[in-house]
């Protein structure tokens, strides 16, 4: 899971930074041993993250260490700008996203009730002073933090577009099913550098195919409250 093809490159960058700063052992908690003004802001940010003990040394729920989780992959790197990506970046991100998506042979809608529970669950993957134990409760989709599904529920977010009547307006054709599966799995295929997480790629499975089928049912099933507004 969470393959990090950027790890090697990142580590090489720190090595050269450390050499340039003339230090063998980096410890940012002391003031004197590294010249932080000798690095670019980008180098310094990476140095701070990986070489100064700024994070708890913990194993992550997805496997791997805090270091693996904090190492950027190529899409994260490409999208770390203020505002929208330029055309070249957007095209590159779409291409990377398409390359990391595997279409299932067939897509069927699951149980919209289970989908509603997953969409409304903010549990999972939090680490630090409190750790989400996936053995006790399955991680959810966090969808309600950013999307309105049901205007009768007042505590849904607006960072993403409203999804009220999503299925009522689009139907459940094969093309719609494929599109929704693609967007939930890796939204950068259509919205490069979107704020929305990638929920299922060849490198990462925040949600299983079955969980996605339930969330898709919540969005598309004619019986779902999303489509009865």
């Amino acid at each position: 899971m969470f393959k990090k093809n950027a790890v090697a490159a990142g580590m090489a960058a720190f090595a050269s930074v450390a050499l340039a700063a003339g230090c063998a052992v980096a410890d940012g908690s002391k003031g004197s041993d590294v010249d932080i003004t000798a690095m670019s802001a980008e180098e310094l940010a990476e140095y701070f993250i990986f070489e100064t003990g700024s994070f708890r040394d913990q194993e992550m729920q997805e496997g791997g260490t805090w270091r693996d989780r904090m190492t950027q992959d190529d899409i994260q790197k490409a999208c770390s700008m203020e505002g929208n990506p330029d055309g070249e970046t957007a095209g590159r991100v779409v291409a990377m996203a398409r390359a990391s998506y595997e279409a299932p042979e067939s897509i069927e809608l699951g149980d919209w009730r289970k989908g509603a529970e997953l969409a409304d669950s903010g549990f999972g993957y939090r680490m630090g002073h409190n750790n989400d134990n996936h053995g006790q409760r399955e991680p959810g989709g966090n969808c309600y933090n950013c999307h309105v599904f049901d205007p009768r529920v007042s505590v849904q977010g607006t960072i993403g577009p409203s999804l009220v009547n999503y299925g009522a307006n689009r139907g459940t054709s094969e093309a719609v099913l494929r599109y929704v599966h693609e967007v939930i799995s890796n939204p950068h295929q259509y919205f490069p550098c979107t704020e929305m997480p990638r929920f299922n790629t060849v490198d990462r499975q925040l949600l299983t195919d079955e969980q996605i089928s339930h969330i898709m049912a919540y969005l598309l099933d004619p019986e779902s409250p999303v489509n009865n507004q």
């Binding site: 932080i36 993250i49 100064t52 003990g53 700024s54 992550m60 770390s80 630090g128």
Partner: protein, 281 residues
């Protein structure tokens, strides 16, 4: 020193003066001015209840408790914190909080407020990390939050003005900006995922936009009593909570990533009056 100046409220509202960089103002007056100047800000106006409660902000109790702690002779060395230099000279608290983080010659690095406070409690008073006085960072009952609230209150209404004259101060601020926009973690978020646009909500919470300095000054005005948690919280606590929700790794206090983020935060509110202490949802 600055007791709850509740009676000054009508006067300040009548004057309605914009914040002067060096002038202390009651935190409620600062908030009322921001509300009047930004009638369309959903973030600033989101909780009528909290705005109403502001003159009786429970955080003001910590100001009094913190003042006692600050001047008390404490720790193995049995000294007060009057020898602590927050950047304006030993014991000089007025305006110190809004001019942090800054570079300190005695340690040869940039420190944020909490780092500096802990540094003084260890170096002057002789506390160690094992003592709850410095080990317990969160909660209205903690010494750290009482001292933080008292010291911060001495800068209420003054404009955020973290110094950038020293090259390390500028470097910390610039690294903080990169960190703010750095996508990462299990869900690809950066700080701008939530603070890039005005008026957006996570669930029921309206989020402050970082580039709107009048929203952002309230956003970074910690310590603040968090009504939903019934505790006074710090900038560090806010960062820890955000990073946790972002599904990054667990961030630690007194570390460069934390300080760099605060350097950028406070710089982004530069020139705007601080609400110290604030009251938040």
């Amino acid at each position: 020193m600055f007791k709850k100046a509740l009676l000054a409220l009508p006067v300040a509202m009548a004057v309605g003066a914009a914040a002067q960089a060096g002038e202390w103002q009651d935190p409620n007056d600062v908030l009322q001015n921001l509300l009047q100047n930004n009638p369309d800000s959903k973030y600033l106006h989101q909780s009528e209840m909290n705005i109403m409660m502001m003159p009786d902000n429970p955080a003001l109790w910590l100001v009094e408790e913190g003042e006692e702690l600050f001047y008390a002779q404490r720790g193995p060395n049995n000294v007060s914190l009057e020898g602590c230099d927050f950047g304006k000279g030993p014991g000089e608290l007025e305006g110190a909080y809004v001019e942090l983080p800054r570079y300190f010659d005695d340690v040869g690095k940039v420190m944020d407020f909490e780092m500096r406070l802990v540094h003084c409690m260890k170096e002057l008073q002789g506390f160690t990390s094992d003592d709850s006085a410095v080990g317990q960072r969160h909660g209205s009952g903690s010494d750290i939050m009482k001292l933080t609230t008292y010291i911060a209150h001495q800068s209420s209404g003054m404009a955020w003005n973290p110094p950038l004259d020293h090259p390390e101060e500028q470097a910390m601020r610039d690294a903080g900006e990169v960190l703010f926009f750095r996508r990462g973690g299990a869900m690809d978020f950066n700080c701008a995922s939530c603070h890039g646009d005005a008026g957006k909500q996570i669930r029921a919470s309206v989020l402050p936009q970082m580039r709107d300095s009048q929203e952002w000054t309230k956003a970074v005005s910690w310590p603040a009593h968090r009504a939903g948690q019934d505790n006074v919280r710090s900038q560090n606590h806010r960062i820890r909570g955000c990073v946790w929700q972002m599904r990054h790794a667990g961030i630690l206090p007194d570390t460069p990533v934390n300080t760099a983020l605060i350097s950028f935060w406070n710089d982004a509110a530069r020139g705007e009056p601080a609400i110290l202490p604030d009251l938040k949802r």
